[in-house]
């Protein structure tokens, strides 16, 4: 399997059925492409049919068709509004003479809305706003740039179609609704996949309940096409949004086996059924898909122990960890994530008293982003409060036996 196949994914064209990330300045949104798709970005509606068949990373200009509906036209690159308009503008030195009385803009709200609906370009609208502003020319250069960047956010008319990556997908999901993904922030995701020590040819178990498939997607991403990932979940239907959004190709996806926890454990511990692979083949066509998958997973687990165990559960993790630890090989990691700390504290003590998990560590990471501008670089004012907690450890030989 040549490396070129894996790397050529980045230069693929957009196809119907793909997920794409629509980016307008800093705003990103996941969208599934259908034959006649329309995407809405805030209050604007975009017709997406022109992007089909074009490569990812193409930039399009939004051409107004009136009433906040836009057509996308391919172009070479976005042009910055701020740079276009700041060229021949005079500025003041400080704000001592600027009074904030809400009357600096002489265009009324209705007039501005009218400009927008008429399909004028973003640059023209902002140009009008500047012309009708009494105080713009008294502002300092920094203040003018800040004003223009603020307007640009509203009137920016370029979008870029990007290919979803783990980084993009996790950022978008965390920003849109962190509660849906158990507050799994992207730095914690990276800690989990590293702690699990994913090798491309290894076999891993991830128990996930309730983070939209994000932890599964992250492990599958680093697994490549030679390993195996068994996704164990409660309930009948696993959450898969993040996995779908990653556009994994079918060969890669085939490495993921999703099974219900009870079905799997029941199948594994019923010794009678265990050795008859032969008769099972006759009935293969009649068995429902979930049963086939469970058998596939059971066959994998009967022959070997896994190289890593990851648990990302909404439920109290203790019994899940105890039930799944027997499937982990020695000298391999176990990683448990929780959005709150207390369950992991209990689990830490339980595992420590078992005596066969060493190097137990309960950690939490902080993530802080910075604004980087000349003379104005500083950490962002708001920081995310929590990205969850992670308990890691390595399984070793049990104390009470010399058998591993």
């Amino acid at each position: 399997m040549p490396a070129s196949r894996l790397c050529s994914m980045s230069s693929r064209n957009v196809r119907v059925g793909d997920y794409v990330v629509i980016q307008r300045q800093c705003y990103t949104k996941l969208h599934k492409v259908t034959q006649r798709s329309m995407a809405s970005l805030g209050k604007d509606q975009l017709e997406l049919d022109t992007i089909i068949g074009k490569p990812f990373w193409t930039t399009y200009k939004m051409e107004g068709k009136g009433k906040r509906l836009f057509k996308l036209v391919e172009c070479d690159g976005a042009e910055s509004l701020a740079e276009q308009l700041i060229k021949d503008v005079t500025s003041g030195t400080d704000n001592r003479n600027i009074f904030d009385d809400n009357a600096s803009q002489s265009l009324s709200k209705d007039e501005i809305v009218g400009l927008r609906d008429s399909g004028l370009s973003g640059q023209e609208i902002v140009g009008q706003l500047i012309e009708n502003s009494k105080t713009f020319h008294d502002k300092t250069e920094y203040a003018q740039k800040k004003y223009l960047l603020k307007k640009e956010k509203k009137y920016f008319e370029y979008v870029t179609i990007r290919k979803p990556t783990l980084r993009l997908v996790s950022q978008i999901m965390f920003r849109q609704d962190p509660a849906k993904i158990m507050w799994l922030r992207m730095d914690t995701i990276s800690q989990i996949t590293t702690a699990a020590g994913i090798h491309t040819e290894g076999t891993y178990i991830v128990y996930e309940s309730g983070c939209q498939g994000l932890s599964v997607a992250s492990m599958l991403n680093y697994l490549g096409e030679d390993g195996n990932l068994i996704h164990i979940h409660p309930g009948n239907i696993p959450q898969k949004q993040a996995v779908l959004a990653m556009n994994f190709d079918p060969q890669h996806l085939s490495k993921l086996i999703s099974v219900n926890v009870y079905s799997l454990l029941r199948m594994l511990f019923q010794e009678n059924k265990c050795e008859d692979d032969e008769p099972a083949k006759d009935n293969l066509a009649k068995k429902p898909r979930w049963e086939q998958e469970t058998e596939k997973a059971a066959r994998l687990l009967r022959n070997r122990k896994v190289d890593g165990l990851v648990i990302v559960a909404r439920e109290y993790p203790a019994s899940i960890v105890m039930a799944l630890l027997p499937f982990l090989a020695v000298s391999r990691p176990v990683v448990v994530y929780s959005s709150v700390r207390e369950p992991l504290l209990d689990l830490y003590l339980t595992l420590k008293s078992r005596g066969d998990v060493v190097g137990l560590r309960l950690t939490e990471t902080w993530l802080r982003s910075h604004q980087v501008l000349p003379d104005r670089s500083h950490p962002d004012i708001l920081m995310s409060g929590s990205g969850g907690y992670m308990l890691t450890g390595t399984l070793v030989q049990r104390r009470d036996t010399s058998i591993i």
């Binding site: 399997m1 040549p2 490396a3 894996l6 790397c7 980045s10 230069s11 990812f56 990373w57 990556t165 783990l166 980084r167 992207m186 730095d187 995701i189 990276s190 800690q191 996949t193 590293t194 702690a195 020590g197 994913i198 090798h199 491309t200 040819e201 290894g202 991403n221 680093y222 697994l223 490549g224 096409e225 190289d307 090989a329 020695v330 000298s331 391999r332 990691p333 060493v358 190097g359 137990l360 560590r361 950690t363 990471t365 390595t394 399984l395 070793v396 030989q397 104390r399 591993i404």
Partner: protein, 211 residues
């Protein structure tokens, strides 16, 4: 060998991690005899606070099992980039696992990626990058210090990952990454005293759509 893929049993030449406690771990090259200061071959005995370990006794033991020391016991673990980061001999300040995780995540690399790194330093990040991109990917790593380049090459060879990495001595700020790498990299990582001097060169090396 040890870092390339998981094994069950310790063989001669492996690097095994002796785990005494969470704060006390040592990477041991499993060789029955080593050279002492006078260049004579002597029995390889590793001293710890729980007593001595005859390193030859490790051969044939299973990873994850308990080993007896003269005044106690310890576990012997399979090497991983995380454990290596905590036990490797420092030649420079290294990058630790939390930062390594975020770097790999942000660079968007995966199995099969081609990565360019400078400077190599002590190889802490390099081992993690290798695990992520092998077997089809490749790591090109550069350092301007000749001895560090040599040590890194030796370590990669001892760890069984030499086929996935190329270490070269080069001042990438001055002369870039070389003609052969132009347009070949999926990702470039710079950890240098003056990284801005290498930015142009980095841009040359990146593929049409890469990080």
């Amino acid at each position: 060998m040890s870092f390339a893929n998981f094994k069950d049993t310790i063989d001669e030449g492996d690097t095994a991690i002796l785990y005494l406690s969470a704060n006390s771990m040592h990477a041991i090259e499993v060789r029955p005899k080593i050279k002492n200061k006078k260049d004579e071959l002597i029995e390889n005995v590793f001293q710890t606070t729980y007593g001595a370990l005859k390193v030859r006794d490790l051969i044939g033991k299973k990873y994850g099992s308990k080993v007896e020391l003269s005044r106690g016991w310890a576990y012997v673990l399979h090497p991983t980039p995380e454990l290596w980061t905590l036990t490797l001999p420092h030649r420079t300040q290294i990058i630790y696992t939390p930062d390594i995780s975020l770097i790999i995540f942000q660079l968007e690399i995966r199995p099969g990626s081609v990565v360019v790194e400078s400077g190599t330093g002590s190889g802490s990040l390099s081992h993690a990058l290798l695990r992520c991109i092998k077997p089809q990917g490749h790591l090109h790593t550069f350092d301007f210090h000749s001895h560090r380049v040599l040590l890194a090459q030796e370590e990669f060879a001892n760890h069984g990952v030499a086929e996935f990495v190329t270490v070269a001595q080069r001042d990438v700020c001055e002369i870039g990454f070389g003609e052969e790498l132009k347009g070949k990299a999926d990702a470039v990582f710079l950890d240098l005293p003056h990284p801005w001097e290498a930015v142009e060169h980095a841009a040359d090396v990146i593929k049409e759509s890469g990080e």
